[in-house]
Subunit: 387 residues, 2 copies
Amino acid sequence: MKETAVVGVGNTKIGEWYDSSLRELTDEAISKAVQSANIDPKEIGATFVGSMSSGIFNQQEHLAALIGPHSGINAPAIRVENACASGGSALRVAMMAINAGFYETALVVGVEKMTDLIDIGDVTTALGTASDGEWELGIGATFPALYALIMRAHMHQYGSTLEEFASVSVKNHKNGSLNPDAQFRKVVTMETVMNSRMIAEPVRLFDCSPVSDGAAAVILTAKDVAKKYTDDPIYIKGSGAGTDHIALHQRESLTSLQATKRAAETAFKMAKITPKDIDFIEVHDCFTVAEVITLEDLGFCKVGKGGKFSLDGETALNSTISVNPSGGLKSKGHPVGATGIYQVIEMFHQLRNEAGKRQVSKNDIGVTQNIGGSGASCVINVFSRGA
Amino acid sequence: MKETAVVGVGNTKIGEWYDSSLRELTDEAISKAVQSANIDPKEIGATFVGSMSSGIFNQQEHLAALIGPHSGINAPAIRVENACASGGSALRVAMMAINAGFYETALVVGVEKMTDLIDIGDVTTALGTASDGEWELGIGATFPALYALIMRAHMHQYGSTLEEFASVSVKNHKNGSLNPDAQFRKVVTMETVMNSRMIAEPVRLFDCSPVSDGAAAVILTAKDVAKKYTDDPIYIKGSGAGTDHIALHQRESLTSLQATKRAAETAFKMAKITPKDIDFIEVHDCFTVAEVITLEDLGFCKVGKGGKFSLDGETALNSTISVNPSGGLKSKGHPVGATGIYQVIEMFHQLRNEAGKRQVSKNDIGVTQNIGGSGASCVINVFSRGA
């Protein structure tokens, strides 16, 4: 893989945007990204859009053709869907397109507008379509239920505690309180998390990422033209993807994700790094246990010790490794198909020292981990400033 | 673009498969394709799945991860959606991936199972999500209505006749009667077509492609490894994609598709061909007027004369140019996201002289044209036997 570069980014704040349409959100993100890269829209060769379920959430498929031309980008457009890993997957397809020489420059958009469905039960069902419909959603296993199984298995297998999981939520809310684009900007206490409403035992409300609206866009270019658009591009040094069975009962393990491990192996090898080289990482904390398992799968701590690692403060901003400096899905919000692109935007700002109060002090290597569903899909990318 | 090769194909017959699940359909197509290419599934580097709306049709997103591992392909999987051009777009992404050197071999699957929705009105609405939801479907403009506007405009602008449009249907049904995998295998008369039930004036039932279930799969490889799998690969010599506004009122013209023209320009230039070099073509005849317009946009006849060209028999099997030898969407059937892959499979069989009674006699260059919605997306690929 040749390296590619991110030369401009734009996004909406994440929230509940009842008064904005799907394309108003993407218009905002795209126009900001185009402005950020100072690029003539005519130079954009292709548009790739990541969205999980605009069909169910907004009764709108054919999303890439809807979004691109409406923002004045008349390039060939393709939508990519991989559940909550749709954003990361769209970026990966854009990397393929540029590496293939099909295009020199691509617009990559992630978007989800989840609040159009009036009944929150419908939102849960819509999200549930990322599970195995016949074996999971169809028999009532929504995502809180699936992650409850995973969390319970982790507690059973390793003796991890509710306090440990809660510490993930507290840390991410603390980071998110420093992020002006985050959906939730309040710090929370351990007590708040641990006494919050039970959703699917042992998963409580504050173990869950929220229902969110948001759009995020980046301009990706071939390495050798990046400096045309900005003096300070960030580069993708490695990329990996992994896929596993969706249904939990078909997986090798409940408490470790093969998809993450495979994606990491490819990405880290390509970037010639080990976990020790990573300064900060945006991980897919759709539920607190997902962050715990990721810490273990990526080798930041021993297997079974992800919760303790978190409770001990090793993942706090500017500690051993800064995990989710943006606030993560928990606090920044989780417009599902957009999340993978928001993660890239955090890379962009952190690596360029533009992250304000949440700026990490050590920022040579940043990594994103974007998961689909309960972990059947995973995309991992490695970023740095130096070409 | 480096050339890629199709080395194996597999598909279900197209029909109304009430008793098969989504993944049973893809299992059949994938296992046939793997067998056809005589490939060890472990050698498949990635899976790309084209599907328009498995979310609405089957309450199943995250489709690529569902399908791949279930068929024993544990490679990274990505779904691509571009309405009815999802299949062609998935193939294009696979070409990017192989050209980029990410993988040497990819499985590309197209699938749609449209009969799970019990109410046919729901199917029409589901398909309508490929239009501009706010400006078209939301105010009642379903696809028959949109194509009725296009057909009426063509008649008004060029004086084309109902008989001319009907001739497309008659010809495609005749071809389809020779295709054992087609959904409809009966020849029909001009009278049948022209007296069929009115759907949206002037579009009658026999101007419309049907509601279909089907799955199709191809194995795509880098050119230099193709012969490892078959003595007789077919090669993709050129590929192009185009995107335009979805909403008809935002287009330059109602009776010509910019997306087709842009895709063709890129693909034909890459393959170093002109329309005269094309021996046979699979075009996207979702409605009869769509085939007429395509004949004009691709330069097979004069603008406004596509209908006459068809009525005169110039597009019949082994005439001036064989258009839709498979029977096209009209007769072969139109499982929307799978159609682009079924078109490739027709290329495979025709170029290898395996098309039985519908075999075209001149088969050096074949082309596919896969459209999304009312024409906002288009993918065109050029195929030949010679490397």
